[in-house]
Symmetry: C2
């Protein structure tokens, strides 16, 4: 990888952590630039005109080029490595769990963590408050789906640790901060204990 890699991030974000963990497991050097999403630092005209028009982190900068979306950035770093299954069906299964993570897991489990831990329940709007129960139920359904899959497997795809595990680890291992009780998902708990044994593993900031 010839180009310098810079991660535009907020260290509290699990989406940013995914990219740092991928780089660490692969031994890739990664610079970082910090932004405070609670202060709107990714919505400034400067940020949207030079980093990401969609006003969101993480963004992986590759030389002068910008790559938003956490799971796409992980893919860019890891393609061709042992973190991506060599078999084409298992590679697609890895992507399946990464899309599951963005559609069925992150909007529920990460959002409730953000609201509970960083925004504070007292500061939520009425509209946000009305979403807490549906997000709680959808998050539990996602954890159940993961638990059933992991009941007979150590890793999500390809028989080894892959980007699917990294993507799902990021917010699952801090799901208790959003009020989820992981003791109800024993296969998930065993899998959570497996990730930190990988050579090069780094914890979330």
């Amino acid at each position: 990888m010839a180009d310098d890699l810079i991660l535009h991030e907020d260290p509290r974000s699990g989406n940013c952590y995914k990219i740092k963990l991928t780089a660490a497991l692969l031994g890739l050097p990664l610079e970082t630039r910090q932004y405070d999403i609670l202060k709107g630092e990714t919505r400034t005209p400067e940020f949207t005109s030079t980093i990401n028009a969609h006003g969101r982190i993480p963004v992986l900068q590759v030389g002068e080029r910008m790559l938003p979306e956490s799971n796409a950035a992980c893919w860019y770093l890891a393609e061709g490595s042992t973190l991506v299954p060599g078999d084409s069906f298992e590679r697609a299964q890895m992507l399946r769990w990464m899309f599951f993570e963005q559609y069925s897991h992150e909007p529920n489990i990460a959002t409730l963590r953000f609201w509970c831990r960083f925004v504070g329940q007292a500061n939520l709007s009425e509209q946000q408050r009305s979403q807490m129960l549906p997000k709680r139920m959808a998050g539990q359904e996602a954890l159940e789906t993961m638990n059933r899959h992991l009941d007979t497997r150590d890793w999500f795809a390809g028989g080894a640790a892959s980007l699917a595990d990294i993507a799902l680890f990021a917010y699952t291992h801090v799901a208790d901060e959003g009020g989820f009780e992981l003791a109800a998902y024993p296969a998930v708990e065993r899998w959570l204990a497996r990730l930190p044994t990988l050579p090069g593993f780094i914890p979330m900031a």
Copy 2:
């Protein structure tokens, strides 16, 4: 591709259409099995025990193996074809827009279409009704982001039609059914007219 391909689908779903469009553009034979999501046919014990434990369509069946998640199924069919950019950075950009589609586009634009056209506004719960305005605004933000990107490009990634275009076309071209006015996004409208000119294109059912 030696294994028979069967798509478990509801023909009203844009997520299912993505897979059929990908197969059609690649000239791949694809059988289909229909389920009515409004009647809960993907939540039966038979479906969750044999097709997808997560109770959702589409699922691409490859021989005896099951692959949920629309964009992962498209990837499986198209990997190595002209629908996936050959350059590694552009391949990651394609995935970037596919993750954008599942996180920032589908939950807003497809959900409002589903509620308005298939469920009916009179049948929405109070909780769903409270989400209509935030989903409207987030959907408009997604369309604006697409419009800005397409203002200087014909296709989302790699300088040619790719899975990113297929994924985003599925629900954008019927966004009016959810009350979105596409005339406000002229670059998106021009791009929408480009897709049907691709050899092998098929319309949504």
